[in-house]
């Protein structure tokens, strides 16, 4: 070991100095680890020194934020997508999944059996320090909430605003192949990469553009990939057809993608069955 006090070395690293005579270090492995440590400390020190007054201002988010989270999670639980089931990452634009008929409690706790036993174990309320940003309103909120209350409405309004901005921008700047009127980040439901899908409207109708080449889809024998638009209830759906090399899919005239905002990519076995296989690899909600 080096003769330098490790605590002093730590201070040096924090403050951006070197402070370590490498000669004293015995093994390469130990050295690497020490280097990584010093790097991390340097980063920490830089972040601390870069702190500005703005960074210290933490306002409490409006009540609607928690309400929206609770509602979305409740919708998940009602729809049997419990935590950890992953996959269903809803993007800007609203709940991807309408909850099944009777919405239960707002909390993840009481919603479904798999969402867990009665709320006895953890200490949600007790864990919240009095002075901390507790969304007290959430606790005060009625035990039953509507499937899409304030928060998601707010999100939807924001999404529409964005959409309007996007459309306006596209109209102003013009375009060579049509205007993007909506987009969705398709999140992986399996071991593939997320991609972004966009709806482009031009003279010859609307098209969905999905660069599936970028998704790293595994090559399937005896199966192909198919692109779908699905409604928010995950019931009605429209096939846009098998995966195409140009990544462009015509949206049939009369199909309103606002009604079918969920873009889904599935693996379809070549079994002649035209319905969705229920085996999806990517999914996202247009907004």
């Amino acid at each position: 070991m080096s003769s330098v006090d490790p605590d002093d070395r730590l201070l040096d690293a924090l403050r951006g100095g070197e402070g370590r005579p490498d000669a004293g270090r015995p093994e390469a492995a130990a050295l690497d680890e020490a280097d990584a440590d010093l790097d991390a400390l340097g980063r920490l020190g830089r972040a601390a020194r870069a702190l500005s007054a703005d960074d210290l201002v933490l306002d409490e988010p409006p009540p609607a934020v928690w309400a929206g989270i609770a509602a979305a999670v409740e919708a998940d639980a009602a729809g049997d997508a419990s935590p950890g089931a992953a996959g269903w990452v809803v993007h800007e634009g609203g709940a991807a999944r309408e909850p099944a008929p009777p919405p239960s409690d707002t909390r993840p706790s009481a919603a479904t059996p798999e969402a867990a036993p009665p709320p006895s174990d953890t200490r949600p309320s007790a864990a919240t320090p009095p002075g901390e940003a507790g969304p007290r309103h959430a606790r005060a909120a009625p035990a039953r909430t509507r499937p899409r209350p304030a928060g998601w409405l707010l999100a939807a309004v924001a999404a529409v605003t964005l959409l309007v901005v996007a459309v306006a921008a596209a109209l102003i700047t013009g375009g060579d192949g049509g205007d993007v009127v909506a987009s969705a980040r398709l999140q992986p439901l399996q071991q593939v990469s997320a991609v972004t899908a966009e709806v482009v409207e031009g003279g010859d109708g609307a098209q969905l553009v999905v660069p599936l080449d970028d998704a790293g889809l595994p090559r399937e024998s005896a199966a192909f990939y198919e692109v779908w638009l699905i409604d928010s209830n995950i019931q009605g759906m429209v096939s846009l057809g098998p995966m195409r090399a140009d990544g462009t899919y015509d949206i049939p005239a009369g199909v309103d993608f606002y009604r079918y905002p969920v873009v889904d990519v599935s693996i379809e076995p070549t079994d002649g069955n035209p319905t969705h296989s229920s085996n999806s690899v990517l999914r996202g909600t247009l907004s």
């Binding site: 980063r43 409006p62 928690w66 929206g68 949600p124 964005l162 996007a166």
Partner: protein, 219 residues
């Protein structure tokens, strides 16, 4: 805990029974950091609960980190979308709660990692809209967040970590960050034993580093 300067003090004072520690760090050398520092213990308990998707832990996580995530979204992407992004972050986090691994960093850092992705996506989308780019911008490396977004996330996490420290520890740690004082000088300045100062710095830095490590796990 007798100090009530700011809300930091309140973090520690209300559970796990009576405060058995009076005096400044009577027994810290070699002590268990988690046991020594209630704020840390609270955070760890929350992480464990969250990672197991225990009921109520999402709300606790929101109460603990909602303001930091919201501040990040607001500063990085603007007040108009901060609410929506904050919702997205927590909903996405809960959906993959069981993938959170405390061993790889703090929950706060992990949430900020998710937030960074959401913010980056939002900024890209906005950029596309503004540029009127119709076709897909090549999303070659979506992990490459703008540097100022990264640095903002790190700063907010450090600020959060500092806020969690007991005032007397925070004083010592701030001297470590912002002064050129040696341990001995910090000990003299604060009137605390050298060993106490050293272990407080060591421990606090470890916990702050862990906070920053979480943010990179999602890369």
């Amino acid at each position: 805990m007798v100090t009530k300067t700011g809300y930091e003090a309140d973090h520690r004072s209300h559970h796990y029974g009576a405060d058995v520690r009076s005096g400044p760090d009577a027994h810290d050398a070699g002590g268990d950091p988690a046991r020594d520092d209630r704020a840390t213990a609270d955070d760890r308990a929350l992480e464990e609960a969250f990672g197991a998707a225990k009921p109520g832990s999402l709300e606790s996580a929101y109460q603990r980190y909602g303001r930091v995530v919201h501040a990040f979204a607001r500063q990085a992407a603007g007040p108009d979308v901060a609410d929506e992004l904050t919702q997205d972050v927590f909903v996405a986090a809960w959906r993959s709660a069981t993938r959170f691994e405390p061993a790889r960093g703090s929950l706060g850092g992990w949430l900020m990692g998710i937030a960074r992705h959401k913010v980056t996506d939002e900024l890209r989308r906005r950029q596309r809209a503004v540029a009127g780019t119709e076709k897909l911008v090549a999303l070659t490396d979506r992990n490459e967040a703008a540097p100022d977004v990264d640095s903002l996330a790190q700063r907010l996490l450090v600020a959060d970590g500092l806020r969690r420290l007991r005032p007397e520890v925070r004083e010592v740690v701030e001297l470590a960050f912002y002064s050129d004082l040696t341990h001995e000088q910090i000990a003299q300045t604060t009137g605390r034993p050298l060993g106490t100062v050293k272990s407080q710095i060591r421990r606090s830095l470890a916990s702050l580093r862990r906070h920053l490590e979480g943010v990179d796990v999602i890369r």
